[in-house]
Assembly symmetry: C2
């Protein structure tokens, strides 16, 4: 009875997802990002302001509204966390200190027809920095660093490439080349993921009005990538000059320099001059992220710089941010069995129950363990100990505690994986750190 497009996890998977969310939150807070949460809904006016995604909005109506013709509430579920954040900044500007760093980890909804890899409900984790009037460029570097560090903390994921480009760089290049319809060039270049280079070249000529030689130059630019600043020299070698290009090259080089110490492990930060994010409203730095072995997912973490994240007509709020698609990232890994958790319950210990009269005593042992942070449950019924051990086994609980005669004496605890059984005191025994909580597990 699952509803198509609305994923639902079993407890082991939810443990893994919570581990992801906790680690993200930990890194974001270490960098001074404050948590915010916005309602699931925004007014339709807010949601449709940019006009292009109206097909994807779920509108709310009260089931028993009185007037059936006008029963829409005027509210829709948010389809991203950027529109709500822009509204939040304007609404609460008087109570916020700028530059304002926020993270926001929430569900979003899109009323799409479901298809493989598309969800109608999914979790995103966004970080943004927004300022009043002017947002210094170094915050672009900061956003890249924080997300690279957050992705590195998810050390059970396949290798990731955080790809960075700069709209000023490519716009300056296209203008320096003589292109007049820059958006059309970006839209064509954006298709390099899906179309062969020759087809894109044709579009550059047919739709963007370039000569064949200009189109080749654009494709040559799009082929450049590097994990250090060597891309600058390769762009220069194409012989195009423009003031915007200079700015863009300097900015992109600064991001790569700023991330140099973070790259090379599980997360690689690289300049990739093919990244355009043609349909979005970015004005400088742009980000996308690919996961090794899961390239068909497209970008699982994207963002960039907006010169006007929000504006109330008097004050403009520039911003830079990046959004990680948590569901988009995790569900394929769950489906492939690549990522899971070590057990289905938080409990590290099951306290056995010799008979029903011993429940208070077994409860007391459990409370002593819990008081020291050890998640513990007590057997539900006083079955034979072999059955109680199998009860623990089915849940993945690693330890079974056998109560002693009373007080602190005579207790034993058994690691049911190894069969080792040792004397133990409920006021001092502690499981190995790895057994204390469910651990994220990977296939290899």
């Amino acid at each position: 009875m699952s509803i198509s497009g609305f994923p639902e996890l079993l407890p082991t998977q939810r443990f893994a997802e919570l581990a992801v969310l906790d680690r993200l939150r930990g890194v974001f807070e270490l960098h001074g990002f404050a948590p915010i949460e916005t309602p699931a809904v925004e007014s339709l006016d807010q949601l449709l302001r940019k006009g292009e995604i109206d097909k994807e909005v779920y509108v709310l109506r009260r089931l028993q509204a009185e007037d059936s013709d006008t029963n829409d509430s005027g509210l829709g579920l948010h389809f991203d966390l950027t529109v709500p954040f822009a509204r939040y900044v304007l609404e609460h500007a008087g109570h916020l200190e700028f530059p304002f760093r926020r993270y926001q980890i929430q569900k979003v909804w899109r009323g799409e027809r479901p298809q493989t890899g598309r969800y109608r409900e999914f979790t995103q984790a966004d970080i943004d920095i927004v300022a009043r009037d002017v947002l210094p460029f170094h915050h672009d570097v900061e956003i890249a660093r924080v997300m690279a560090e957050a992705l590195s903390a998810l050390n059970f994921l396949p290798p990731l490439r955080l790809q960075v480009n700069n709209r000023r760089l490519i716009e300056g290049f296209y203008r320096g080349l003589g292109a007049t319809d820059v958006p059309a060039v970006m839209r064509a270049i954006d298709k390099l993921d899906k179309l062969p280079a020759q087809a894109v070249a044709t579009q550059l000529v047919d739709d963007a009005g370039l000569t064949a030689a200009q189109a080749d130059q654009c494709l040559a630019l799009a082929e450049i990538r590097s994990t250090d600043t060597s891309f600058v020299e390769r762009v220069r070698a194409l012989g195009v000059t423009h003031e915007l290009l200079d700015t863009g090259l300097a900015e992109l080089a600064a991001v790569l320099d700023g991330c140099a110490e973070l790259t090379g492990g599980r997360v690689t930060v690289e300049a990739d001059l093919r990244i355009a994010r043609g349909l979005d409203y970015y004005t400088g730095t742009v980000f996308e992220t690919r996961m090794s072995g899961y390239e068909s997912l497209g970008s699982i973490c994207s963002g960039g710089r907006y010169d006007a994240l929000a504006s109330d007509g008097k004050v403009t709020y520039p911003g830079v941010g990046i959004s990680l698609g948590v569901t988009r990232l995790l569900l394929p890994l769950f489906a492939d069995g690549v990522v899971s958790a070590s057990r289905a319950v938080p409990s590290a210990v099951l306290v056995a129950l010799p008979d029903e009269d011993a429940r208070a005593s077994s409860d007391g042992i459990a409370q002593a363990l819990r008081a020291r942070g050890i998640a513990t449950e007590v057997a539900a019924t006083p079955q034979k100990f072999g059955k109680q051990i199998r009860y623990a086994e089915r849940r993945g609980i690693p330890f079974v505690w056998f109560p002693g005669g009373g007080g602190h004496a005579g207790h034993t605890v058994k690691d049911i994986r190894s069969g080792d059984q040792v004397d133990a005191d409920p006021s001092s025994w502690t499981p190995p750190a790895d057994d204390l909580r469910p651990q994220v597990t990977t296939k290899d």
Copy 2:
């Protein structure tokens, strides 16, 4: 531009809310409750199964659905976490181990006309234990203990009374008394919160068909409350006998005994024989919770035992659970300024920036502090130090770090509240534990 009924918090309040959610989660997991999350939506069939709350459901439709007459998606936002959990149990029964303990902390939505104290979006924290066929009574005690412990962990709340009663007890009493329409008696008794006793007595006679003497007995029962098992004797003294009454008295006494060691601090567990929860489908233990000074909120944490939480026609799943209204509890405390957090950002330290060229060096200091779990930000611009200190002050950041000449020498850190400034090493200096993260604060 806030949307009525959809509360939105500022960062300090969100820190306090997150502290609440983290502590609840911590206690629930210590007791072996596994986390689950269900989609925001259920099919309307599921949501309307019980038929009584249909006015409150928000239905979803795709904004640009093709057929405007049948454009409802057949989906509605869940209005509680019990209906989704019952569906989850049936859907995933083959993958769950019973008894299954789960906690679920999520938003729910009700399409009500907003009024004071009513929200259209709010967060609930539910715990339930569900079994296949039979759920031993001791799990009722367990649920009461776990929620009492969780509420005790919220040590910044006003005192709370967790009130327990038992449907078998009151039903047995009413039947022993000769009542034939027990639901009508419960509905009348349920109104004791809002109506004077005399008005309820009149309803007991007029609507439930009792004699005036029987009505007086019902009111006498409803007046009984105790924080120990002395209520048993007082009920017996009313002279009514019935087999169900005996069972109910024994069960309620067991809950009070089981919670004896937990009561008496900030949370009092008490038998309150007025609690009926007339409109809900409970069959044994019932819970409500009142917060001192906020009695007008009604019950902020309610639940009980269902003999059939879910059923697929072949197997029945009895359950016992309790649901804490997190938003309902916190928003009045925020509004009154009773609960808040110590700052608006996670940062414990602001690293000052002598000039823009020093940014890499200040970033390095920040990274050294973060590596040891100290949330740190770097000043946005190289203003005069006085301005940078005020920047920290406005955010509530307690410490400002002044970089030394290079390496580990010459650094100082200033507590901007006291003005104390000391030499410090970024690889070893640590703030006091209370300053490490934003703390929940209370008025007194």
